[in-house]
């Protein structure tokens, strides 16, 4: 998504859907279960606007039960399905030509690919009847605006990156971007997954999606108030400062070293602070890696199953961490709104807050002063410098973030403003997020980008009909000024309302600011201004942009062709473990990959290793249950929530179950292609067809039939335990992000 138009985040918000959407196209998301409050808004849109709810899912979900149109798709065929829709849209001339012409680059290649996907071909690949594909394409073309909603059902695939590109492409073709009631509403999972991602607790970037280049590191060193040379020496060698680290998906290979890895050292110590270990695929490999480590540190409010999976007898430490309600700070909701979470009670028992844990160890590790100095910094006379000698954690850290993170426009997120919004939440309109009274002119929680401390936040991304200073903007100029001789800037017809510049413009740098904005900088300004809008601590670029009504990141075209990717335009590739062996030849996966996140990943060699569908004939779909989230670590410790699903199960169609002589409620074994297995209860259910089963991914505490109850420290075992579905999720990782393939796999069923 970020590779299409600049940012990878939900573009609109829930209230907007209620007020403006005429159709809701939900694919790979089950909001009724994963995000019930989001679902409320979709149902309100149905009731108030007569909005059509279209749900595309391999399973008849609780969201599907509320849909006007339900399409049962085969797992891992989303790209094919969208091309099937595009085929019909292009064929009938239903695309928004004006929008494409003026704001999109590379559409011809999409048109060419879409030509191949006739309704009949699409129906064969996706399993969705051709009439339904035609019907939905027609609804999308005739019903504007449509909002597209997705979640992990789209991203968690070996083709996840292509999936997240094809949906924005659909919206660009329909001209639904930057529009009220349109957009791509990606629904994030955890409470602050958007915030933690924005802050890039990630192996491939620094907070705000700054890359790992020297320029980024220097920007951060400056903002943190640490010497760049010192920081460089902290790494094994400078090279490793610029290299992506191991990812959550395959870190275990860094420990096991069964395959070639590309790091300065194997992994010997694992520090887990708030990651449910059982929410990762390849649990058996993870178990082996946990056993091999020299040190495992776990810091959590509840026992992380990492402590329980492992057979190790020593060198595991568990530190008690306070819950969010015994702590303070802001959280970023799925719509980029930041909300201040006020502390309710002091940390209970001997627990410490997450940041206190970090502080304690920073002291021992010898970098406490450098670690905390950023909170003592400030901007004085256009320059960043240390301005005080003490700090107050959440507030000063917020202001530090606001100073440093320019890319996604967090300049406006000062602690003072965020707190004021939370204290006055009653002053904001739920449909528009607009403030009233004292909060007039601002949007609730200052949805980013909120470029500076005067900016009201941007409730709808890429809306050129709204002035920049009221939350409008064009697409981001992120991919250069031209490609193959074609300008990447928006056409002259796309002028952001109220902007002093007609049509498109590049991102603002110290080199082009005078020319682009048509201004003259004073000598003092010239001396203080940073290199570009992303690294300018002086605030000069931002200020000049505000005066000109210009978004500092430019006004460019979205691109549907990513020339640096293995697939410049998304193409359908069969899942690595495909139930359709006949289609694998025609739509093969990628070639094997060398060194991504310091490990190799098998693609074609795995896909062709054997006729998987023959030995593993049933599709494996993972799902959420409403009472549990993530690894279920939190909710399974609640007696009321556990009571709703006290044990692990799989939904199975009676016709399939009876083929194996399995009765409702009986145990069955599920075997995976990589030779692992889990034992679960069969729940007869009609939400799945006889070619697939679905199982929740929120359980842990049982491993391949072995109950691990005795391994929990006394008094910490959750009320509900069970096999983790991730013990049998199939091998497979996205070629760009390395997100594991959770959603398109195969399994073999056996009566237990």
């Amino acid at each position: 998504m970020a590779n299409t138009w600049g940012y990878g985040a939900m573009t609109n918000h829930f209230g907007d859907v209620v007020e403006n959407s005429k159709a809701i196209f939900m694919i790979g998301a089950n909001s009724a279960v994963a995000n019930p409050i989001g679902m409320k808004h979709f149902l309100q849109a149905k009731d108030r606007n007569n909005a059509k709810l279209i749900v595309i899912d391999p399973v008849y979900t609780k969201s599907a039960a509320k849909a006007d149109h339900y399409l049962r798709i085969r797992t891992g065929t989303d790209v094919a399905f969208i091309y099937g829709l595009l085929h019909i849209i292009f064929k009938n001339g239903w695309e928004d030509e004006k929008f494409i012409e003026s704001r999109v680059y590379g559409m011809e290649d999409i048109k060419a690919e879409a030509k191949k996907w006739t309704p009949e071909v699409t129906a064969d690949v996706t399993g969705i009847p051709a009439e339904q594909i035609i019907q939905v394409a027609t609804i999308l073309a005739k019903t504007k605006p449509t909002t597209v909603v997705w979640a992990l059902g789209i991203t968690q695939h070996s083709t996840g990156t292509s999936n997240t590109r094809i949906l924005p492409i659909l919206q660009l073709v329909l001209g639904n971007m930057g529009k009220k009631g349109g957009g791509c509403n990606i629904i994030r999972g955890h409470d602050n997954v958007q915030g933690s991602t924005d802050m890039c607790c990630l192996a491939d970037s620094l907070p705000g999606y700054y890359g790992l280049s020297d320029g980024s590191w220097k920007h951060f060193a400056q903002g943190w108030g640490v010497d760049y040379e010192w920081l460089k020496k902290r790494f094994y060698a400078k090279k490793w400062m610029n290299e992506k680290g191991f990812s959550l998906a395959k870190w275990w290979q860094g420990v096991l070293q069964e395959e070639k890895t590309y790091s300065s050292s194997p992994i010997r110590a694992l520090w887990v602070q708030g990651t449910g270990i059982t929410s990762m695929s390849q649990q058996v490999e993870i178990q082996k890696a946990l056993n091999k480590l020299d040190l495992l540190v776990i810091a959590e409010p509840f026992v992380n199953e990492a402590a329980v999976l492992s057979d190790r007898e020593d060198n595991i430490y568990i530190l008690p961490v306070a819950t969010q309600f015994e702590n303070e700070g802001s959280v970023t909701a799925t719509n980029r709104t930041s909300q201040w979470r006020t502390k309710v009670v002091d940390p209970l028992y001997e627990s410490k807050t997450d940041h206190d844990v970090m502080f304690e160890f920073a002291k021992k590790f010898g970098f406490y002063d450098e670690f905390t100095r950023g909170m003592k910094m400030g901007i004085k006379d256009g320059e960043i410098k240390q301005v005080k000698n003490d700090f107050n954690f959440a507030e000063d850290a917020s202001d530090e973030i606001a100073r440093i993170v320019k890319t996604i426009g967090l300049g406006g997120w000062t602690a003072k403003r965020l707190k004021a919004h939370q204290e006055n939440w009653h002053m904001f309109d739920p449909l528009t997020l607009k403030g009233r009274g004292a909060m007039k002119g601002e949007y609730y929680g200052l949805p980013w980008p909120s470029w500076d401390d005067k900016h009201p936040g941007s409730p709808i991304l890429y809306d050129v009909d709204t002035p920049v200073n009221e939350g409008g903007m064009g697409f981001r100029n992120r991919f250069g000024l031209e490609h193959d001789g074609v300008s990447q800037l928006a056409e002259d017809s796309v002028t952001v309302k109220g902007s002093s510049i007609k049509g498109g413009y590049p991102e603002i740098t110290s080199a082009n600011i005078e020319k682009v904005l048509g201004i003259k900088l004073t000598d003092d300004e010239k001396q203080k201004i940073g290199k570009n809008w992303k690294t300018d601590y002086s605030g000069i670029i931002q200020e000049k942009c505000r005066i000109a009504g210009v978004a500092p990141y430019g006004n460019a075209k979205a691109r549907v062709k990513v020339w640096t990717f293995p697939d410049p335009v998304p193409i359908h590739r069969e899942p690595i473990h495909s139930p359709r062996t006949d289609l694998v030849k025609k739509h093969p996966t990628y070639g094997d990959q060398t060194n991504n996140f310091r490990v190799d990943v098998r693609f074609s060699s795995e896909q062709n290793a054997q006729d998987w569908a023959k030995d593993f004939p049933t599709m494996l779909v993972t799902m959420r249950v409403v009472n549990l989230s993530g690894a279920g670590m939190l909710e399974r410790t609640s007696k009321y929530l556990s009571h709703i699903t006290p044990e692990m199960f799989a939904n199975i169609h009676p016709d399939l179950a009876l083929n194996y002589g399995i009765r409702d409620g009986e145990d069955m074994w599920l075997h995976s292609p990589q030779g692992t297995k889990i034992k679960v209860k069969a729940h007869y259910n009609f939400s799945v067809t006889p070619d697939r089963i679905s199982l929740p991914y929120n359980f842990a505490g049982v491993m391949q039939g072995v109950d691990l109850s005795h391994k929990y420290p006394e008094g910490t075992k959750p009320y509900a335990t069970g096999e983790s579905s991730n013990t049998i999720t199939n091998y497979g990782f996205d070629i760009i992000t390395q997100i594991p393939e959770f959603n398109a796999g195969l399994c073999r069923i056996e009566k237990a």
């Binding site: 409470d191 702590n327 201040w340 940041h355 021992k364 009321y640």
Partner: protein, 186 residues
């Protein structure tokens, strides 16, 4: 007791008129036959309005999903006694799913980790923070000395606050590695 006659209740009762009801409910409670109780007294106005007199209502945000629902926590003498709905919150308007309304139980859960622990010879032992910090940091530094900073892997959280997420990334950077990730990857 059955079918007590109450004051005339001719008002239509929508949500707004619950307040009216409250008064009636209260007077009923305070004046009805308490034959079994020998310490009968009328409820004070404060008690009728709030069973935890002097408690404060803290506005905060649910910790489960990214919808960002508002929560009102009633805190009495430093203890979170009740979870109430935030009817005026612009995203949730009072709504919660089962996980959201049960946040109070998350904090109060019996299964919380109450003190630092380590496993030794297959047994979990209670240890002090001082001991935990000392032992872990010595081991971490030893590994760093032997194999360099990339010998450690840091897994952060999508449940950190924004500020803590920023600081965890900084923590790994200052340790000297890019081996840091969190569940956004999945």
């Amino acid at each position: 007791m059955s079918k007590n006659s109450l004051a005339d209740l001719s008002l239509k009762m929508g949500r707004r008129t619950f307040l009216k009801l409250a008064t009636i409910g209260a007077s009923f409670g305070a004046t009805s036959a308490f034959a079994s109780s020998d310490s009968v007294r009328a409820a004070t106005q404060e008690e009728i309005k709030n069973p935890f007199p002097g408690s404060k209502r803290v506005k905060t945000i649910c910790s489960i999903c990214s919808a960002g629902c508002g929560i009102v926590a009633e805190v009495h003498n430093g203890v979170w006694v009740r979870q109430d709905v935030a009817q005026d919150h612009p995203i949730s308007e009072g709504s919660h799913c089962c996980k959201g309304i049960d946040q109070i139980d998350l904090v109060k859960s019996k299964q919380r980790i109450k003190h630092p622990m380590k496993k030794e010879n297959g047994k979990w032992l209670r240890i002090s923070w001082d001991q935990a910090i000392k032992e872990i940091s010595e081991k971490m530094l030893k590994i760093r000395k032997e194999n360099g900073p990339d010998a450690s892997m840091f897994l952060g959280s999508a449940k950190f606050s924004l500020q803590e997420a920023f600081y965890f990334r900084k923590f790994a950077a200052l340790w000297g590695t890019n081996n840091i990730d969190h569940v956004a990857r999945i």
